[in-house]
Symmetry: C2
Subunit: 103 residues, 2 copies
């Protein structure tokens, strides 16, 4: 059965890209223990440093949505919101078939 | 130091999406031993099954480019080319900062 793959970005206000990336790296440590989380990667585009990219693989979409209800994750999200420039867009949802490097 | 992250897609001709995905899954097994390859994931968009997505993390861009010179990888690429609809586009290049789930 394929897993749930999500690749999306968050835009920070001017000068806050680094701070947002740090928060999302912290989030990656939190969701490491969340049910069904296989991958939660943080990347940036050097040409657009205010945009932080999150690439995730979860056993199911439901596992992903449940992770957003975890108290510590909700608290991180509330810290991130003031750093954001505009509404976050839903990421690109794919079905993960397999590959190398993921547990 | 950040790693090299690449997220891109290949478009198959009508009815060949599955075959292309299988070839890329085979490629993921090959590059598992290539220098600097941390991640090589294959995904599809259920709504656009002819498009196969590849998400990669390498220690360096050079490691990624060197992998394309490996004989077995070149042979797989030559099998994939007849399945493609048009020229492959360069993927989205990012700097991978960190996260969960990657060795």
């Amino acid at each position: 059965m394929s897993k749930y793959f999500l690749h999306g970005s968050l835009n920070a206000i001017e000068g806050k890209g680094g701070e947002l990336a740090d928060l999302l790296l912290e989030a990656s440590r939190l969701v490491a223990d969340a049910k069904g989380c296989s991958l939660y990667l943080i990347s940036i585009d050097e040409k657009v440093p205010e945009t932080v990219w999150v690439t995730e693989v979860w056993d199911t979409k439901e596992d992903h949505e449940n992770s957003l209800k975890i108290e510590a994750v909700r608290s991180l999200i509330s810290k991130a919101v003031p750093l954001l420039a505009g509404q976050p867009q839903r990421g690109h949802e794919l079905s993960f078939l397999g590959g190398h490097g993921i547990s």
